[in-house]
Structures are given as structure tokens and as C-alpha cells.
Amino acid sequence: MTISHDLIICGGGIAGMTAAIFAARANLDVLVLEREICGGLANYAYSVENFPSYSRINGMELMQKVKDHAESLKVKIEEIAEVESFEFDADRKTVSTPEQRYHAKSIILATGRVPIHLPIETEWEEHIHYCSVCDGIAYKGKGLVLVGGGNSSFDESLYLINLGVRSIVIIESMETCMAEEVTQKKAFATGKIAVRTNARLAAIIPQAGQGRIIVEDIPSGSSEQIAADGVFVFIGQRPNTRALEGKIDLDSGGYIVADNLMHTNRPGVFAAGDVIAKKYRQLTTAMSDGTIAALEAVKYIRECA
């Protein structure tokens, strides 16, 4: 059986949920399909401090409020519903999850990004982590290596130090860390965070309950060994567009190409949030994308009626 809706939004992060709120308020029958749980990457932020109206709020708490708002407008939400295939015909769009097939007059793609995993094989998998809020507490009084020198890595290192982690070595493959200067200063002021730039994690060798982290100096090729109790990885995200390859225009990085009204190259298919090719990826810019995509989808559906 195929279920039909006016608008299907693929992705329940801030872009998709904002689009859902705007579309529902325009009286569309809206379904949100989310591969995990609603909230997207914001769920992983222990503290959000740049969202207007909250000087500081936990990411999951913020996104629960957004979900509650959408549900209050009768938006249908299905979680753990990963869209595996898309068909974008002129008069009807079809998406399929492992359990169900859905039709819609219009689609908004807000599938976001997913974390990039450490590109090495190791038997020490139990000690490789991607979420400090989830796993940080186990490392109180212990030493860690963090991979990646961006904002996430420095923010998370401060969170981990506040939890009581004894020391952290951050490994960054570029010449300098890209994290905001103010965050780097805060991190170094703790006296517990060191950085290796121009370096890469080459191997992890489990040894007596710890890991011997082999760090290669990229210019010279020489290696250093760091003993650590765990490794946290923050090396960025990739666009979640694999199921869209060949179905819609993507740029060389796999991001959806959309114009400033969030139109893709397929009529009636719009895109919003981190998944589109753009310079700034913030909660607020994703909300703007979601708003525009929803208003354009409403216009498209009304014009086709």
C-alpha cells in the first residue's frame, strides 16, 4: 500500500522541522521522515549558545521543543525511517523506506550531514567515540586523544575537561587548527589540552588496557606514540545524499545544488539545511532554508492544483 501526503520532508533536523511548521500552518498535510530521531546534529550539542531567544540551551532540549511545536500543528513524524529510494516524476514524487512507500505532491530534502568515521581499522573499537555527551563520563581522571582541530573538537574538549578528564591531545592534519580563536584560547587556558598540527592518527595498538596512539608528523613522516585511554573523533561530516545520487544535481562534494529559493533541478523538489551546497551551516541558516523551502513548496502545490 502507498500512503499519500501533500508534502514529504526527508529529515527531521532544524531545517526539516522548520519547513514542517511553516507548511502545516499553510494547511498542508505534512509527513516528516527521519532516519534516526528528530533533532539532527543539534541533538549532539551539549550547549547551544547562539540560538536567538536562548542564551544557552541543551541541543536535545531545544530540538524536543521544536518537535513538540511541529506535532502540535498535526505534522506526522516517523522516526527510524530511512528513505532508501526516490522517484521524482513531474506530477508525483515517491519515496520508499524499508517498510513503506509514500507519494507526495512535493518533497523537501533536508537530510543533513552524518559524521565521518575514523578511516582506520582497529581492535580497540570499544574506545573510539563520536559523542562526548554519551561517552565522556567514563574517562574521568583519564587521558584522551581527540582527532580533528575544528570547533567541534575544541568545544568537546572543554566539555570533557569539565567532566574531569585529566588530559587531552588534539590531532589536526592541517598546519593550524580551524576552531574559533576564542574557543582555542579557553581550551589552552585549562593547561590540560595540547595540540599536534600537521599530524595524522596512523594506527591504534591496544596495550594493557590502554591504546598506543601512533601519530605521524605529516611533513617529516616521523612517528610519536601517545598512551591514551580513549579516542574521540570530530573530523567533520559528509552530506547524507547517497540515496540521491543520479536522482538530483549534487556538487562534487555530494551536496545538493539549490538556488536561493531552495529549488533543486527537479520541479517540486526543494532542499534545505546542511545538505545543500552553501558556505555557512548554522541552526539559524538552516531555519531560513527550511522556511523558504516550505513557502516555495506551498506555492508549487497551489499552482499545480
Binding site: 534516526e36 536535545m60 527510524i80 524499508p98 567515540h129 555527551v133 554519551c134
Partner: protein, 108 residues
């Protein structure tokens, strides 16, 4: 939180296990991956209507984590006759969890 999940503590843990078959989820509050895993379990439950689901809050019961040698949440353990027969850390897709449960249930 899963409606069907029995929350265990260090005091109730051993008494609950007995010789039971059940799924144990080690989780933490405010852990997004744990919430995802709870949703995955919920999605799989209709296919395993008799499955007993229990949970341990890792922050409130660190002794259980030490006993089970768990350092990562979410971790799922499948108990067969009161003994862990399978375990997996991190988020699984529904098909992966269903396969893990089915395999464990098929063991003698």
C-alpha cells in the same frame, strides 16, 4: 524512554537476570545515540512480541558497567538463559538489531 523497558539498578540487576531471555540496553540520560537506539528497539518490538526489554542507566549504576566491561553507550546485550549471548555497542539499524535478536533466539 521505552514504555516496555524495565529499569534495573545495581540492587535489582542480579535478581532480574535469573535464567531469563531478554534484551538489555545500557544507556545514559541526555545521550542522543541512546535515544536513537531506544527508537530502534521500539521499531523492532512488533516482530518480537514476547521479547523482554530491560535497561540500565550507566550513570546511576557504574558498577554494572564495570561488571559487564561496558565503556560505551548505547550497548545492547542479548541474554539467553540468563547469560549474555550477544552484545553490540553503538547504534544499529532495525534490520541489524532484528538479526541479532533472531540469531540469539535461534541458539539452543
Amino acid at each position: 524512554m521505552l514504555d516496555k523497558m524495565t529499569i534495573l539498578t545495581a540492587d535489582s540487576f542480579n535478581g532480574f537476570i535469573g535464567s531469563r531471555d531478554f534484551l538489555l540496553l545500557i544507556f545514559k540520560n541526555n545521550c542522543p545515540l541512546c535515544k536513537v537506539m531506544m527508537a530502534v528497539i521500539e521499531k523492532c518490538l512488533p516482530a518480537f512480541p514476547d521479547l523482554v526489554v530491560a535497561g540500565v542507566n550507566s550513570e546511576e549504576n557504574p558498577i554494572i558497567l564495570t561488571d559487564l566491561d561496558v565503556s560505551k553507550v548505547p550497548t545492547v546485550l542479548i541474554y539467553k538463559n540468563g547469560v549474555p549471548s550477544a552484545r553490540r555497542s553503538g547504534v544499529m539499524r532495525p534490520a541489524e538489531l532484528s538479526a541479532l535478536i533472531s540469531k540469539s533466539q535461534a541458539q539452543g
